[in-house]
């Protein structure tokens, strides 16, 4: 995945932003990323008005029952190769309403997601960092943490051994 990105998107990404039943907090931070203080346009990133012109899809919000089929149609209308970013805690894991009666869940339950940018809402710097990670300019900084108390007998062997980091 990274190698495709490095080859195709070295210069500039055109993004199409869509809101799948979000509260607007993340959308405002995305627009903030284009304003003078953070200025994503110096990297060539531009918001376009049609998914046909886009290289990347920025999706915010958890997916509701009504938006679900429309989001699938939208995903299919973006031409390949494409990258999907899920921005905010709602898009990543469903947020506070992950199990509500009218919600399907996070965005990855409906369309395949390439990058997640959690936060509620994520700072514009975090969004720029996420795009930089996707482009291969910087390395990602977060990894799974698994801590276990030492010094006590392990009565039965553990079934899962998650990778230890930190």
């Amino acid at each position: 995945m990274f190698s495709i990105l490095e080859k195709c998107f070295k210069k500039s990404i055109w993004v199409y932003h869509t809101n799948a039943s979000a509260c607007n907090g993340c959308d405002i931070e995305i627009i903030n990323a284009l304003t003078p203080f953070y200025d994503a346009e110096r990297f060539g990133i531009k918001l376009v008005g049609s998914p046909r012109h886009a290289d990347a899809l920025l999706v915010t919000g958890a997916v509701s029952r009504q938006v679900c089929p429309r989001l699938k149609t939208l995903y299919e209308s973006v031409p390949d190769p494409k990258v999907v970013f899920a921005i905010g805690s709602c898009a990543t894991g469903g947020g506070i309403w992950f199990d509500s009666y009218n919600m399907v869940g996070g965005v990855d339950k409906v369309i395949p997601v390439n990058f997640y940018i959690p936060g509620c809402p994520p700072r514009p710097e975090a969004i720029l960092f996420g795009v930089a990670v996707a482009l291969g300019l910087v390395d990602k900084k977060v990894a799974a943490e698994y801590l276990k108390e030492k010094g006590f007998p392990e009565l039965i062997k553990q079934e899962q051994q998650t990778t230890v980091n930190e």
Partner: protein
């Protein structure tokens, strides 16, 4: 109308260039920022008070293996409200100022801790016993 346009141009010129040098230079958030959470396993007593107050249910507590308690913090759903930090009696959960959490797999966004809980002989409630080494420092290295 031309005067208005001139005034608008003057506003833009007066502001000048304001772009922050991020991401070439770090942009640290102010003190008290609520970012990614961090758990100190030595202080945690396994009371699961954080799981009770979390509004998005991002903290999952499971007991397994006769006395082990696993507490999983699903950072995919965490909204960084800070209630777990407020409620923790031992100040084991803290919110750091880390905000650069972008990743390509959801497995990266998880903090799991496992603590050993003993059962009180009298009231049958779980509690976290002291580390045997710490206990020996107090009682001395004797049988």
């Amino acid at each position: 109308m031309f005067i208005s346009k001139l005034k608008q141009v003057l506003i833009c010129l007066k502001a000048g260039r304001v772009t922050l040098p991020y991401p070439y230079e770090p942009s640290p958030p102010p003190e008290g920022f609520r970012g990614k959470l961090k758990v100190d396993i030595d202080k945690c007593i396994g009371c699961a008070g954080c799981a009770n107050v979390c509004p998005s249910g991002a903290i999952e507590v499971t007991d397994f293996d006769k006395g082990w308690r696993r507490i999983q913090f699903h950072l995919t759903r965490c909204i960084s409200c800070g209630r777990c930090e407020e409620v923790c009696p031992e100040e084991a959960v803290k919110l750091t100022d880390e905000f650069e959490l972008s990743t390509n797999t959801k497995e990266d966004l998880a903090v799991t801790i496992e603590v050993y809980m003993d059962t009180c002989q009298r009231c049958a409630r779980c509690f976290k016993p002291e580390h045997p080494l710490d206990k020996m420092m107090i009682t001395g290295f004797r049988e």
